[in-house]
């Protein structure tokens, strides 16, 4: 980004409302989390490539604004339910990247004591009721969480994430219907990244938008540019406020894109390099940085310091993960049942 002259700054357009609504410390926190997610996934990917992590993982690189923006209006005691592509949700909700990476390394210090891996991280104390290996698996659970919140007369909200592909499962439709008829405090966040693995939404959905589907359940729904953090946050804020005040569920569709392959075995046969490049230019982190610089919300050195702090935290997390102990094989069947 070229440096702007003082004259440019003075004549810059005023901040759009979605950005102006974000207080300085909130914005700083959001930037920090987006960087943390990016660095976390880059570190996880590098460790995988070096053979330090086994299995597979689903990276959300390019989708950070959707995770961070959606969760921004949530309180610590609100719930989220996440997906197979859930590292971003987890970090955004406040999880410790060190314990997450330890989980990737299968260590006893990981969030699931090495039993779950990338696809199953849950941070119960932080209100994250878990990633999910089953597409749409979290949606019906969200209905139950909503019922529970209501039954206990709490003012909490449950936010459930799912992909575009998940909306083709019956579970999605059943869940939206129940949430709507029972006016449950649920925010449905669809991260529409155009593909379910190799399946193009244009081929898999009878309607163009996931928001179109909400109308069958009389649920308010809004689609936003999912790579635009302030827009995502504004939409989520409205939906969360509505759910919290007893107004019932709402759906937010974040139109976004995953830059990496679906998982580690993807050869990208279903999309073009050009398409990936186009979306790379819409990178949610650099987009927001450019904008906040323009409006002098942050200086370049301040932004660099945020990124550096994020990198440092991930470097430390990696050390922690590597140095942590493996689970004890003698405890193979521990935790299958609650006592």
């Amino acid at each position: 980004m070229p440096q702007m002259s003082a004259i440019d700054r003075n004549t810059a357009a005023p901040e759009r409302p979605a950005l102006a609504a974000l207080e300085q410390e909130v914005l700083r926190g959001a930037l920090m989390k987006m960087h943390l997610i990016r660095k976390f996934e880059e570190a996880a990917e590098a460790s995988y490539v070096r053979g330090l992590i086994h299995g597979t993982m689903h990276l959300s690189i390019g989708q950070e604004a959707s995770a961070v923006g959606s969760i921004l209006p949530l309180r610590i005691d609100d719930y989220i339910l996440s997906t197979h592509r859930g590292h971003g949700h987890c970090i955004a909700k406040g999880a410790d990247p060190a314990r997450m990476l330890a989980e990737f390394f299968g260590k006893e210090t990981g969030y699931c004591h090495g039993r779950g891996g990338s696809m199953h991280i849950a941070d119960i104390e932080g209100g994250n009721l878990g990633a999910n290996g089953i597409v749409a698996g979290g949606l019906p659970i969200a209905v139950g969480v909503g019922m529970s919140i209501k039954a206990q007369k709490q003012d909490r909200v449950c936010m459930v994430f799912f992909g575009d592909g998940a909306t083709n499962e019956g579970a999605f439709h059943e869940s939206l219907n129940m949430a709507s008829i029972w006016k449950l405090p649920i925010v449905f966040v669809c991260e529409n990244n155009k593909y379910a693995m190799s399946m193009d939404i244009a081929l898999s959905m009878a309607v163009r938008n996931v928001t179109d589907r909400a109308s069958a359940y009389a649920m308010p729904a809004v689609a936003v540019d999912g790579n635009d953090l302030p827009e995502v946050a504004a939409a989520a804020r409205a939906a969360v406020a509505r759910a919290r005040s007893g107004g019932g569920p709402a759906l937010v569709e974040c139109k976004t894109y995953r830059i990496r392959g679906h998982s580690k075995s993807d050869r990208n046969l279903y999309r073009t390099k050009e398409e990936i490049e186009t979306w790379r230019e819409a990178d949610p982190i650099s987009r927001l940085e450019t904008e906040v610089l323009t409006h002098q919300r942050f200086t370049r050195p301040e932004l660099a310091a945020i990124e550096k702090a994020a990198q440092q935290r991930i470097d430390e997390a990696l050390e922690f993960a590597k140095a942590s102990p493996d689970p004890d094989s003698a405890e193979l069947t521990r935790d299958v049942y609650a006592d």
């Binding site: 260590k107 039993r115 891996g117 592909g165 499962e169 689970p327 193979l332």
Partner: protein, 340 residues
């Protein structure tokens, strides 16, 4: 019913297990235009495990169909297509996701022929990659075959070699009943001789993979390979192991198992699914209920999956299902000490 494979005369050609399945699909589609393949990412992607490969290019999008993520709907669509003159082959991307499709497979597909008084049939095939060993944790590593073997009206097969992967799939496609083919993810890259022409491995026939006089190991799927590796080690210690590869769970080839146990007087059953309430329990009970019981010199031993969801950590994951060392140890115990 043949229990041993006729030694293939010209089958010097080797294919991987995945390639053998692909060849079976291609030959079935070439031979019968009613056959089609559908499932999540089976087309452009070539299948999550690369099994369908280039079939989309070869047969076009009307016969190799990429679907939405809708397992229950897909299983029901297979039922409907099969009921009305087609021969669908459905790929469930990981066998774990068949849990979403249980209703159509168990309540509909399995029962239609019987409940409609034999007037309609459901010639559908479901291919299911199962098993652990890939670090995919609890929801992508299960071995659920015994669930389906519990259901009258379904047939369940579990090929362990590329040869059988092709032959059993072709037999499954021919079969007028719903057949579930449980493939194993760790077997896809294993290679073996596969005849080029189409052939069938009869459903309901086990194969004796190795002859021996001291102990019978009945194994299924990848456990057959582990049992054979264990048998080679046991042979070096003077223990001669007979290895019976089940191949079909329903119908099960009890005659082949019984014949072997009569000869060896000892039985070890090895399978990856959870041991508790699993296929080993059924085989043990069949032996106990038969006259073969008299021939046993030791208790029957079972090795199966531990009572735990498949853990992510690689050491725990290995510990949760039988490994070659476990088989060697269990066989030794049975033969040398007479205890299970």
């Amino acid at each position: 019913m043949p229990t041993e494979l006729a030694a293939p005369e010209v089958a010097t050609r080797e294919l991987s297990y995945a390639e053998a399945i692909r060849e079976a699909l291609a030959q079935a589609m070439e031979a019968d235009e009613r056959v089609f393949l559908f499932g999540e990412d089976v087309g452009v992607y070539g299948g999550a495990f690369g099994v369908s490969g280039d079939l989309l290019q070869r047969f076009g999008p009307e016969r190799v169909i990429d679907t939405p993520i809708s397992e229950l709907g897909l299983a029901g669509a297979a039922v409907g297509a099969a009921l009305t003159g087609m021969k669908p082959v459905l790929e469930i991307q990981f066998s774990d996701f068949v849990t979403l499709a249980m209703e159509q497979i168990v309540n509909q597909a399995a029962k239609i022929h019987f409940m409609f008084g034999g007037k309609a049939s459901v010639p559908m095939v479901v291919r299911l990659p199962g098993g652990s060993g890939t670090g995919a944790a609890g929801q992508h590593s299960q071995s659920l075959e015994a669930w389906f073997a519990h259901v009258p009206g379904l047939k369940v097969v579990q090929p362990s070699t590329p040869h059988d992967a092709k032959g059993l799939l072709l037999a499954a496609i021919d079969d007028p009943n719903p057949v579930l083919v449980f493939e194993h993810k760790l077997l896809y890259k294993t290679k073996g001789p596969v005849p080029a022409e189409p052939y069938r491995v009869p459903i309901g026939s086990a194969a004796v993979r190795r002859a021996g006089r001291d102990i019978t190991i009945v194994a299924a799927s990848i456990m057959t390979l582990r049992a054979l590796a264990a048998a080679r080690r046991l042979a070096a210690e003077g223990i001669e192991t007979e290895v019976v590869d089940l191949r079909s769970l329903r119908p099960i080839d009890f005659a082949t198992i019984a014949k072997s146990v009569r000869k060896t007087h000892r039985l070890l059953i090895v399978y990856e699914g959870v041991k508790t309430m699993g296929i080993g329990a059924e085989i043990s009970a069949m032996i106990a209920e038969s006259e073969v019981f008299e021939f046993l010199e030791t208790p029957i031993a079972r090795l199966g999956g531990a009572d735990v969801p498949i853990p992510y950590n690689p050491m725990l994951e290995k510990a949760s299902v039988p490994q070659e060392d476990d088989i060697v140890a269990a066989a030794r115990r049975l033969v040398l000490e007479g205890i299970a």
